[in-house]
Symmetry: C2
Subunit: 470 residues, 2 copies
């Protein structure tokens, strides 16, 4: 990236604070840090940069989903009664800050990261960045909208069933959902600990990759034979049928497939049932008991009242009644489904799916909170259950909504997914409210900050060819 000029962090904090006030979307934030504190930190970054410090993210404004610890800010997971104030940053936050990123505040989310809609929060439903009658998508709702509106350059999300991708799709931004546990989950409130991932949002894939390279590492080891690029002529699979998509959305998906074929990518339809069956297992099976294991004891002791979302509490309390032997049986079934799904992907470098299948209004969700939410996860739910990685990028527009495509790839094929996603990425026009003053491109004609190496390399994957000698 091009290093901001001395004083850049300070001026961007000022612009962001002004924009936050002008834009008037208080539901984005659960805690916004005070101006004095932010300006003091910005000044320190500017001084360090002026002194020659190597800070690859110097002055980038960072929003953090409020189920991820930031020292001194209450971690609520969007439930006021659950709040605790951590004395240190989560691992992911600490790494971004050490590289010069500046935390603006903590963002709203579907409570306990249970939802894909962005409406399940006592801090208010987060509205779409362009059309306030529509949902933001969730659960990383505030983080996605803060980036879409240019209030933050990058934002941390989390993703168990699609929470780091669905809102990226609906908001026309990029979301990277890395291979499980390559980003440390230390200091993150668990949703389903077996399948939780820490994600990043940015308006451009290059910025998101730069941040991921900083945020990941020192957690799950990369294998020695990790693939660090897509092949010259990638082969990608896509679902032979597209449940949950309105006709216009399906047409937009196929237009994108054709666009990719025009760029030299081989794309072929595959049978998608095993992927859909895994999604169903998440909603109708016993795997949801992981949510009770995470926060059920809190809900059991908490007698309603202040700030428990009724839809979320209903889901998690019911999960507490499931028997262990069903969880074990569903885990076994999941393994079978993964085996089938991986067979379907045999010979392909990645799987292409629509990120979100449609864009509901706030009223649509209110009318059917559980049903709409389930359908929203059609193309995201299976991913973490199968230990796959994914990159969601903006790729078009349909019926006035943003249309997103997601490239899903095998465990550790994060760089492969990013390479293919780069071909699909089409940055949309900014929303009417866009806070250009806080954007990193303000005064930077060179475009978004980027890195010259695949992000897994920056995050510790060894770029070492191996040769068989005996």
């Amino acid at each position: 990236m091009s290093t901001p000029a001395a004083g850049a962090a300070t001026s961007r904090v000022r612009a962001a604070l002004a924009a936050i006030e002008t834009i008037d979307r208080p539901e984005i934030w659960i805690t916004l840090r005070g101006a004095d504190e932010l300006l003091a930190e910005a000044a320190a970054i500017d001084t360090a940069v002026a002194g020659g410090a190597h800070l690859p993210l110097a002055g980038l404004l960072l929003a953090v989903k409020n189920n991820v610890d930031v020292a001194g800010i209450p971690t609520t997971a969007a439930c006021p009664g659950f709040a605790y104030t951590p004395d240190k940053d989560a691992g992911a936050v600490a790494r971004l800050r050490a590289a010069g990123a500046l935390v603006l505040g903590a963002t709203n989310l579907d409570q306990f990261a249970t939802g894909l809609v962005g409406t399940r929060s006592p801090y208010g439903a987060v509205r779409d960045s362009r059309r306030p009658g529509f949902i933001s998508g969730g659960s990383s709702s505030g983080s996605a909208v803060a980036v879409a509106l240019g209030l933050a350059d990058i934002a941390i999300g989390t993703d168990t069933a699609g929470s780091g991708r669905v809102p990226a799709g609906l908001q026309g931004i990029v979301g990277i959902k890395p291979t499980l546990h390559v980003v440390s989950t230390a200091g993150v409130v668990p949703a389903c600990r077996s399948w939780d991932a820490v994600t990043i949002f940015a308006r451009h894939l290059a910025t998101a990759e730069l941040a991921m390279g900083v945020m990941a590492g020192n957690a799950r080891d990369w294998p020695s034979d990790v693939r660090l690029a897509a092949p010259a002529r990638p082969r990608v699979a896509y679902p032979a049928s597209l449940p949950a998509l309105p006709e216009a959305w399906a047409a937009e998906f196929h237009r994108n497939i054709q666009r990719l074929q025009g760029l030299g990518v081989d794309a072929e339809p595959i049978e998608f049932d095993a992927f859909l069956d895994a999604a169903r297992l998440l909603y109708d099976g016993a795997l949801v008991a992981e949510r009770y294991a995470a926060v059920g004891n809190f809900l059991a002791e908490f007698d309603g009242g202040a700030g428990v979302d009724p839809t979320v509490a209903g889901i998690i309390r019911a999960a507490g009644k499931l028997p262990a032997h069903r969880y074990v049986a569903d885990t076994a079934r999941l393994e079978e489904l993964k085996h089938t799904a991986m067979e379907r992907l045999g010979g392909f470098d990645a799987l292409l799916v629509p990120t979100a299948p449609f864009h509901p209004t706030l009223a649509d969700v209110a009318a059917d909170p559980v049903g709409v939410n389930s359908r929203m996860g059609t193309y995201t739910n299976f991913c973490n259950l199968f230990d796959l990685c994914a990159v969601a990028v903006p790729a078009g527009e349909v019926d006035g909504a943003q249309f997103g495509m997601t490239v899903v790839a095998r465990t550790f094929d994060d760089a492969v997914a990013a390479d293919i996603a780069r071909l699909l990425e089409v940055t949309p026009e900014v929303p009417a409210l866009f806070a250009a003053g806080a954007s990193p491109s303000a005064g930077q004609p060179a475009g978004p900050p980027a890195s010259s190496v695949p992000w897994p390399v920056a995050a510790g994957a060894a770029a070492v060819p191996l040769v068989v000698v005996g």
Copy 2:
């Protein structure tokens, strides 16, 4: 191995059938194949050998624990009401047979492989090979005693919490518990599917390794950097304190440690609490729900009567009432314990433990069926939960009992464990009833059959050095 002379399989089957009758231990077998069938198969093997067929296990007599499918023999898992008759062999059985092994029959076990004692079976308590008032150990009770008495050369066991090691220790034979899933579990009645392993028994480590090399493979992939030998001067850890061991047994353990040190092995005590805590999690926690997932539906429909062991049924039925969120929490706790345990093993090639901590009588077990069983697993329970491999070898005698040592090593370090176990192995005098006629050493002065490569290599691990070039 030295190939048996033409006619050898036939003469060994005849000797085994005679010995089985003389020895009069009917409780070893649940199904013994008929003489005509056995002799026909032996004749076919002899003919193949005479014709130059390459059969590395030609004519070795094999006993199969009756929770592992053998085509045409009812699989009972020691519960008559559960029986079904498979039309094909389990993967492990098929591989041994294809290499020339001859299945004598199916052996008794603690029902549903739930137990470490060998007494929990409606087919009778399996008695110790030397002292009939003592237990065989279990759950692979019949398999271990068939080998100890020389009725079979090799026997298949299974091992979830120690069932392939405890009876090896008590019977003065070898038991290899490989890394999970390197031997296929297809055709095996699950006990706890996450932690079930197929094992092999033999009187000598060399024979057991030869059979493992045939039985394993085409299941879990070996990593490219698998270690295929122990270092020249291995470093091993052992528990700083030895709960559950009587004084004389602890002294025998330390004598073995000193013996190993005398052979050039560095041995140091480590804190053992994390290993013991994992064992407790298996008995007192929710992980046991895996047993209900395996056979609970059968027990729920089966109204007692014919052949359900009351202790086993009590354990499994109670496991059906555990909530899923406790299973999830215990799995998380297990992961923490594994992390701690692996830190304790940092810098060591293996962990040395006593195989069984003491040798109870049948009356001891009858007086306290659950308590004695739990204590028997003190040094075996943690192993599969942590995805470790183990080799149990005979290593001495104490108070008239066989004393066994087990070498536990990290995932895929099977060859390392075998190398260290080879230093410890001391084949005991044979039991008074020993059926020398059926033994492979009868008429073979060269000793037990052996292979010249580490068994993981025979089972598909690539012996390929890798060189970093960039």
